[in-house]
């Protein structure tokens, strides 16, 4: 501040001098720059447009020339491309090329550019895809919008086979189909309003129709349904509730046959249990498992109707649980970012599948392939990983998107190759916040 006052005085005296006064009045360039900045508010029209950088680079330039410099700096040569020039370039093959990389959009059937999102589908797919449910010849998708979509998986373009509009008004977050042979006749869906609907395939029209809607749980609001699982014989539906219970419904008799309580498992005696975020039924129909917000995994025996194992190992919320097809193993994963494997004969923790790294991403979805050799996991950072369970290693990582994946599912094996050169290998599908379905198949010929 002590400096500022004398400089300011100099500034005002300098500005009163005529403009033609040589700059030798000031000894250094530094001083001049200071003067300019400080004198701005006093006499804006005198010094405002002088670029400081220029006067620094050419310290001896008289101020008369400053106006000229300004004019030169602003001049930019421009020339209109003449018609002849343009035409010459076009004739020489330098014009815009025609776009030939086109294909038919598998979703809507319209033309689209290959490897690009179909503009019509992107606009009509209004929300995240939250769940997938594979059937032998189709895959059902549920999103934040009110309709469900069914895509045909027997054709290489995966065309849209059916749209069930107004299925769940608030959007749908979970779907379930039975896994195993002779399935695909029934699927169940849960909406954000907690409403559960059962859909059955009409054998004549090959379309799904609403069969039944589960009566909503009492008005107390206790226990909105969250996750669901369907048994292999398509007869039993397990639903988890936000207060930690698991209801099992008989779909033929349309009644609730079993309720498993998990409250009190972790010192929550009397109160509600921890929110059950995931559920699965084993293919042999013997076991039910649930994964909870507090990191607990419970296994129930359906014949005895009681809890058999309370498994620990994951301290963070469990977002996915899955029995292996042989019902020998159970995989559980969630916010911890690792997949815990449990042996179902003795209820032991037999291993972890984890990627190296100090902070793995949350796992949102898990699925075993039909033979039980591979485990598929979808992560919140958009990566899909395929794990070889026998070796305990990750054999493939795909990161086509960096938006969250909400669901990954293996497609059931097919009898014949989908198209020429495509083989009969395993396929899986991933979907999430990118609002599109990505189909992957096993690479052939390697």
């Amino acid at each position: 501040m002590a400096m500022a006052a004398p400089v300011m005085r100099m500034a005002s005296s300098a500005s009163f001098l005529p403009r033609l006064l040589p700059p030798t009045v000031f000894s250094t360039t530094r001083a001049r720059v200071l003067v300019r900045q400080l004198s701005l508010p006093l006499f804006p029209n005198l010094n405002i447009a002088i670029p400081v950088g220029i006067s620094l680079g050419l310290p001896s330039l008289p101020e008369v020339l400053e106006g000229i410099w300004e004019g030169i700096l602003k001049a930019v040569p421009k020339k209109k491309t003449s018609h002849m020039k343009k035409r010459h370039r076009q004739m020489a093959g330098k014009a815009l090329k025609d776009v030939t990389a086109l294909c038919v959009c598998p979703a809507c059937g319209g033309m689209k550019r290959m490897h690009y999102v179909c503009p019509t589908c992107a606009s009509t797919h209004p929300a995240d895809i939250f769940s997938l449910a594979p059937a032998p010849s189709a895959i059902i998708t549920a999103s934040g919008s009110s309709s469900l979509r069914v895509y045909d998986t027997t054709q290489p373009t995966y065309p849209l086979a059916q749209t069930i509009s107004n299925a769940h008004k608030l959007g749908c977050h979970h779907l379930a189909t039975a896994r195993g042979p002779q399935t695909g006749n029934v699927f169940a869906s849960v909406g954000f309003g907690g409403d559960v609907k059962i859909w059955r395939l009409n054998p004549d029209s090959k379309e799904y129709e609403l069969q039944w809607e589960l009566p909503t749980v009492g008005d107390s609001g206790k226990g909105d349904v969250w996750a669901i699982a369907l048994s292999a014989d398509e007869n039993f539906l397990a639903c988890t509730t936000s207060d930690g219970r698991i209801h099992v419904w008989d779909l033929t008799a349309k009644e609730k046959i079993q309720t498993y309580e998990t409250a009190g498992g972790r010192g929550a005696a009397g109160g509600g249990g921890s929110f059950a975020m995931a559920v699965d039924l084993s293919r042999d129909g013997r076991l039910t498992t649930s994964g909870h917000e507090n990191g607990a995994v419970y296994v129930f025996n359906n014949d005895a109707g009681r809890m058999v194992y309370s498994l620990s190992g994951l301290a963070k919320p469990v977002r996915a649980v899955a029995f292996s097809p042989g019902c020998k193993k159970l995989a559980a994963a969630g916010n911890a970012g690792i997949i815990a494997l449990y042996d179902m004969e003795h209820g032991e923790h037999v291993g972890n599948l984890s990627a190296p790294g100090n902070r793995p991403s949350w796992i949102t979805s898990l699925d075993w392939n039909d033979t039980g050799d591979y485990l598929l996991s979808g992560q919140l950072d958009g990566k899909v990983k395929v794990w070889d369970v026998g070796r305990g290693a990750c054999v493939a990582t795909h990161s086509e998107t960096d938006s969250a994946l909400w669901c990954v599912r293996w497609l059931p094996p097919t009898e014949r190759a989908l198209g020429p050169g495509m083989g009969k290998g395993e396929r899986f599908c991933a979907a999430g916040a990118s609002r599109s379905l990505s189909f992957y198949r096993e690479a052939t010929g390697i």
Binding site: G193, D224, D381, S403, A404, S436
Partner: protein, 488 residues
């Protein structure tokens, strides 16, 4: 009149008599000057011109009857005819007393969605199973059938009288003040709030027109000048650490926008104070602006103030910064669409309020702290801020083309917490409210999408979660600049 009253009371049980007794006292206190004035009117019908407002009449006669009132100022004229309505209501009561009829006050109510959400005092008298947005009307009679009704009558009469006094004297009375007039009578502050709002609904005026206001709750900070009706000016930029209490818009005559380009409405006072103390309103890269908070769910005064801002300067962009939880979105929606209970209030919505944050993408892509990255990602820079906005290809079964490796560890930071059962239920209710119309507008669909993601992730986060160090200004600069850019 006297005999009629006693006859009716004598039939009643003792407890009922005890309950009605104070009401009678109030009634007589209030009505006496009115009866005098009415009698004056009757006696001097010949010499009054008939065009004079009843307020003037009563004023004169009241002055005669030992109760002193201040002179009527011009302000009482702004009451939107509220004064005449209140007075005609009181006149009707006087007429009923003179005629010896049962006295009644018309009373309508905008009932709430859930009976459980009502204050206890009102829930008793609410018809069971009242549905949302079904308005019911019932007169409050005196002496009624129940003790509650008698008490309610007294309470209503008290509010009417206080409102009239406020209107006549041109002053404002707070709801808290009304409660303290007789805490035993009203029982709770919530009961007063509900009654005042329903009374305003019944009379067809706004709450402010009755000269009844809530205690000022909103805070404002920034280079803006408010000029009161009495000519005094408030510079909102002065006490930057704490912010100024936002005055009622009825009090404000004009607003001096200096170079204000944006208004940021913040849910939480703590965040507001941090930003105000850092002089963010002046130092932001997005230009000068104003910070406003209503400390949670907004009060009427704040909403009206914003609504006036919006209509005065449509070019000034108004942004909302709320928590990433169902309550945050609900607060945002209250600003935008108003609340159900105060549907009858005019000019209390801010449709142009835009949602600045916090959204799920802000949480998921906030992972830029070195040392916390997944080691697989270290070869590529995190692509921040775009996590949820990109489309990816819908591959028709072909092997996907290799893309440049752009990925980030998308774990929400450690500051998030899990949704409670109440949060999940609240989210469901908001979703239902959004989809209760056939085709919700675009911004409401955005709310629905974020709520769905919130439910799927099962997390909520405070505003501070966007930056682990609690310094919002960088994040806000980005967001505001983008938001303002989208404007032009």
């Amino acid at each position: 009149m006297e005999s009629g009253r006693y006859r009716r009371i004598s039939d009643c049980p003792m407890a009922f008599y005890a309950a009605t007794k104070p009401a009678i006292k109030v009634l007589t206190r209030i009505i006496r000057p009115w009866m005098l004035s009415t009698m004056n009117e009757v006696s001097s019908t010949t010499n009054t011109s008939g065009q004079e407002a009843p307020a003037i009449d009563s004023q004169e006669s009241i002055g005669a009857s030992s109760v002193s009132y201040e002179t009527i100022s011009v302000v009482s004229a702004i009451g939107n005819g509220a004064l005449t309505r209140v007075e005609s209501l009181l006149e009707a009561i006087v007429d009923a007393v003179i005629a010896g009829n049962e006295i009644s006050i018309p009373y309508r109510s905008a009932s709430l969605s859930r009976p459980g959400a009502m204050p206890a005092a009102e829930a008793l008298s609410q018809p069971h199973g009242a549905r949302r947005s079904v308005r019911w009307a019932a007169d409050v009679r005196f002496p009624g059938r129940t003790i509650q009704e008698a008490k309610r009558f007294e309470a209503l009469l008290c509010i009417l009288e206080l409102s009239r006094q406020a209107l006549v004297s041109g002053s404002l009375i707070t709801k808290r003040n009304i409660y303290y007039q007789n805490p035993d009578l009203f029982g709770s502050q919530a009961a007063v709030d509900l009654m005042v709002d329903n009374l305003a609904l019944t009379l067809g005026v706004g709450r402010g027109d009755l000269n009844i206001v809530a205690t000022a709750k909103g805070l404002i900070s920034g280079p803006m000048m408010l000029i009161n009706r009495d000519g005094s000016a408030i510079d909102c930029g002065l006490s930057h650490n704490t912010g100024m209490l936002l005055p009622s818009i009825n009090e404000v005559r004009s607003i001096g926008f200096h170079a204000v380009q944006w208004v940021l409405v913040i849910e939480k006072e703590a965040t507001f104070r941090t930003l105000a103390a850092a002089q963010y309103a002046k130092s932001s890269q997005a230009g000068h602006g104003v910070l406003i908070t209503a400390k949670g769910y907004p009060d009427l005064a704040t909403r009206k103030f914003l609504s006036v801002l919006q209509s005065m300067r449509p070019k000034v962009a108004i942004f909302g910064l709320v928590d990433f939880d169902p309550d945050g979105i609900s607060i945002l929606r209250t600003y935008q669409n108003g609340s159900r209970r105060l549907e009858h209030e005019n000019e209390a919505t801010v449709h142009s309020l835009r949602w600045l944050g916090v959204r799920s993408c802000d949480l998921l892509s906030s992972e830029e702290i070195p040392g916390f990255q997944d080691e697989e990602d270290q070869e590529s820079q995190p692509a921040a801020g775009q996590a949820f906005s990109q489309f990816h290809e819908d591959s028709g079964g072909e092997p996907l083309t290799k893309r440049p490796r752009l990925s980030t560890t998308q774990n929400p930071s450690e500051t998030v917490s899990l949704l409670s059962l109440r949060d999940r239920r609240k989210a469901g209710n908001i979703l239902r409210a959004i989809w209760s119309v056939e085709e919700p507008p675009k911004d409401e669909k955005e709310h629905a999408e974020e709520l769905q993601r919130m439910l799927m992730l099962n997390i909520k986060a405070e505003i501070q979660a966007v930056d682990n160090y609690g310094d919002l200004s960088t994040w806000l600069d980005d967001k505001l600049c983008v938001g303002m850019g989208a404007d032009q």
